[in-house]
Structure formats: structure tokens, C-alpha cells
């Protein structure tokens, strides 16, 4: 159990260092690369502590649950929890339409269809995402039409394959 606690403390250290970095930078943008660097450093610490420390590899009878030794579990726990933190961090800058709807319903209690329509317009939902796709080179706009770039085509093909695998209708 102490191994899992240690793993959790390293995760906490990475999260707090990242938060400190974000506060110092004050850009308001997603700080992805610094987070990856910090998370990788945390992983290296894990590998050093759990995979190469002989004391942790000794898995003989233990008197207390606190002393039950783990090597692989923290090495799996850490990347998973780091990725989960990242999904929540990503959410702090990007809001899905579902979250937007529920956030307003939570605040206003009752909303008519027309009120929700005003909340979710093409200008607020479709256009910013379309512009993102152009900005990140998935699409190109020729002034009249949007065309797929190689990266966008690859993603669309992968989605089509996943759809065949799942056997479901198109999402969205």
C-alpha cells in the first residue's frame, strides 16, 4: 500500500508543479508540453523507484497490509491517473455542448427549447470547431469550401474503421 501511496504523492507533485507553471505563465492557453514533460519526469521516478529498487521487489510474506509490495501496479496506476487528470484539465479550457447544456440547466433550473437553441447556435458550436480544424491543419478553406488535408483524411478513415468495428451509426 505504501507503494500506491508513493505513486499518488508523485502524481500530486506533478499536478501541483503543473498548476504552478500555469499560474506563472498566465497565458490562459492549454499548457500541454510542460505537462507532458512533468508527467514523463514522474514516470521516470516511478521506474527508478518501483522497477529497480531491490527492496520493493522482495515479495515475501508481509505482516501488515501497508507493507504488501507492488511493482507493476504503481507503474500502471500512474500513467492512467496522469491521463485522467489531463482529460479534466483539457475540460477547463474546452467545453462540450453536453456540458454546456447541463451547466446552464443546473444554474437556471428550467429552460425552454428556444432558450437552449439560443445557447447552442451554429456560431457558438460549429464555427469555432471548424476554425480549430483549419488552424490545426486537418482542413483547408479555399474561400468557398472546406477540403480535407492528409491528417484530417487519416482521422476520418480511422473513424470509419472504428464504426465498422462497433457496428453503430455515425456519431456526433
Amino acid at each position: 500500500m505504501k507503494d500506491i501511496t508513493l505513486s499518488f504523492l508523485i502524481l500530486l507533485g506533478v499536478i501541483l508543479s503543473h498548476a504552478l507553471w500555469c499560474r506563472m505563465r498566465k497565458t490562459g492557453e492549454l499548457e500541454v508540453l510542460p505537462f507532458i514533460a512533468l508527467a514523463f519526469f514522474g514516470f521516470l521516478v516511478h521506474v527508478r523507484v518501483f522497477a529497480f529498487a531491490p527492496s520493493f521487489l522482495v515479495a515475501e510474506a508481509q505482516a501488515y497490509i501497508w507493507d504488501v509490495p507492488f511493482t507493476l501496479t504503481p507503474l500502471v496506476f500512474y500513467p492512467l491517473s496522469t491521463l485522467i487528470y489531463f482529460t479534466f484539465y483539457f475540460n477547463t479550457r474546452v467545453e462540450s455542448p453536453s456540458q454546456r447544456i447541463l451547466r446552464f440547466l443546473k444554474t437556471k433550473r428550467n429552460m425552454s427549447h428556444e432558450e437552449l437553441r439560443r445557447l447552442l447556435t451554429d456560431e457558438k458550436i460549429i464555427l469555432p470547431r471548424l476554425n480549430d480544424l483549419v488552424r490545426f491543419k486537418f482542413l483547408v478553406f479555399d474561400g468557398k469550401e472546406y477540403h480535407l488535408l492528409p491528417m484530417g483524411k487519416k482521422v476520418a478513415q480511422a473513424l470509419k474503421l472504428y464504426q465498422v468495428f462497433l457496428g453503430r451509426e455515425i456519431g456526433g
Binding site: 500500500m1 498548476a19 500555469c22 499560474r23 498566465k26 490562459g28 515479495a59 515475501e60 510474506a61 505482516a63 497490509i65 504488501v68 507492488f70 507493476l72 501496479t73 492512467l80 485522467i84 482529460t87 479534466f88 475540460n91 477547463t92 467545453e95 462540450s96 455542448p97 453536453s98 456540458q99 447541463l102 440547466l105 433550473r109 428550467n110 429552460m111 425552454s112 427549447h113 437552449l116 437553441r117 447552442l120 451554429d122 460549429i126 470547431r129 471548424l130 480544424l133 486537418f138 482542413l139 469550401e145 472546406y146 477540403h147 480535407l148 483524411k153 482521422v155 476520418a156 478513415q157 473513424l159 470509419k160 468495428f165 462497433l166 457496428g167 453503430r168 455515425i170 456519431g171 456526433g172
Partner: protein, 180 residues
């Protein structure tokens, strides 16, 4: 207590077993599930996978390690935590974006006419904010998160995954000092 090696194998093995149960059930069942019922069924399948994980963890820790109640509980909870993390990442990182990402749907729509391009008007005639609203409200109502009395929508459950995610994100936003 008589522990031997293999705690990792027990915890991770059971977690991945739970994930496999969830994934196979999802592959078989979700072919027949409408988009409106996805949330409801997702929760049921996650619970089924979790139950398989815990059952396997309890059984194996008793059988192989001669463990007491405290150890069995500890192994099961840890295994369940790993299983929930794996499932969460699959749902949020792979299945969720396929099922509800606006950006990915836009790419699919433009891909459907590729190598030709698509105008904004053409795109909006196939996929628009009104369409998104319709589908999501049906999904929320079907999952029991939102009710509709014929005139207004209201939140039925104050505690659902989206509200929880929003609260966690708000906390991280405060921590990192950012604005949405």
C-alpha cells in the same frame, strides 16, 4: 497472512478482465443500442465489468493468497480503481469522441464528399447545432438526467457524470488559474 508474489498480477489481471468483459459486451450490444440510449447502457455495462472485476479479485485473492477480509477488500478496491480508470479513459478518449465529438463529425461529413470540398451551408444542412441539441436532449432524457414536461427542460439528477466532471474541471481551473 501467507502472501506470496503475484499481487500485481492479481490486481491488474482482474482489472483487465473487467475491461475485457465491458469491451466484449459493448461490441456485441451497442450494435443494437440507439444513440439516445447510449448513456444508460454505458453505465450498465461499466457496472457489469466492475462486478466481474471484483468477483474475480475476491475469488482469486482468497484462493491463491489465503487472504483475510481486509486484504481481500484492499485488493478488490485497488483492482476496481484500475478498472474504472481504464474504462474511463476508453470512454472519454475513444468511444465518447466517436459518439459525440463535433469536430470528428465535421471531418466525417467532409470526408463523405472527399475529394470534393464542402461549403459551410452544405455542412450545416447535414449537421448543425439544432441537430446536436436534439440528439443530446434525447440522450439526457433517456438516461434520466433531464426531464421535459412538454414546455421546459429541467435537471433531474443533480449528481451525474457531466456535473461531476464540470465540478472537477472548475476545481482544476481554480488551481491552474485559468478562465474558460
Amino acid at each position: 497472512m501467507g502472501f506470496s508474489t503475484g499481487f500485481d498480477a492479481l490486481i491488474l489481471g482482474c482489472a483487465f478482465f473487467g475491461l475485457a468483459v465491458f469491451a466484449v459486451a459493448q461490441l456485441l450490444l451497442f450494435r443494437f443500442i440507439s444513440p439516445e440510449s447510449v448513456l444508460k447502457w454505458l453505465i450498465k455495462l461499466i457496472a457489469a465489468g466492475g462486478l466481474s472485476d471484483i468477483s474475480a479479485a475476491v475469488l482469486l485473492s482468497w484462493k491463491n493468497f489465503d487472504a483475510g477480509l481486509l486484504e481481500v477488500t484492499f485488493f478488490s478496491v485497488l483492482s476496481l480503481a484500475i478498472y474504472l480508470m481504464l474504462t474511463y479513459l476508453y470512454v472519454v478518449g475513444i468511444f465518447g469522441p466517436y459518439e459525440s465529438s463535433v469536430r470528428l463529425r465535421i471531418l466525417r461529413e467532409i470526408y463523405s464528399v472527399s475529394p470534393k470540398g464542402m461549403s459551410l451551408e452544405g455542412l450545416l444542412s447535414r449537421y448543425s447545432a439544432a441537430w446536436i441539441l436534439e440528439r443530446r436532449m434525447n440522450r439526457f432524457i433517456s438516461a434520466g438526467d433531464v426531464t421535459f414536461d412538454g414546455k421546459t427542460y429541467s435537471l433531474r439528477k443533480q449528481k451525474n457524470f457531466f456535473v461531476f466532471a464540470d465540478n472537477v474541471s472548475a476545481w482544476i481551473r481554480k488551481l491552474t488559474g485559468g478562465d474558460r
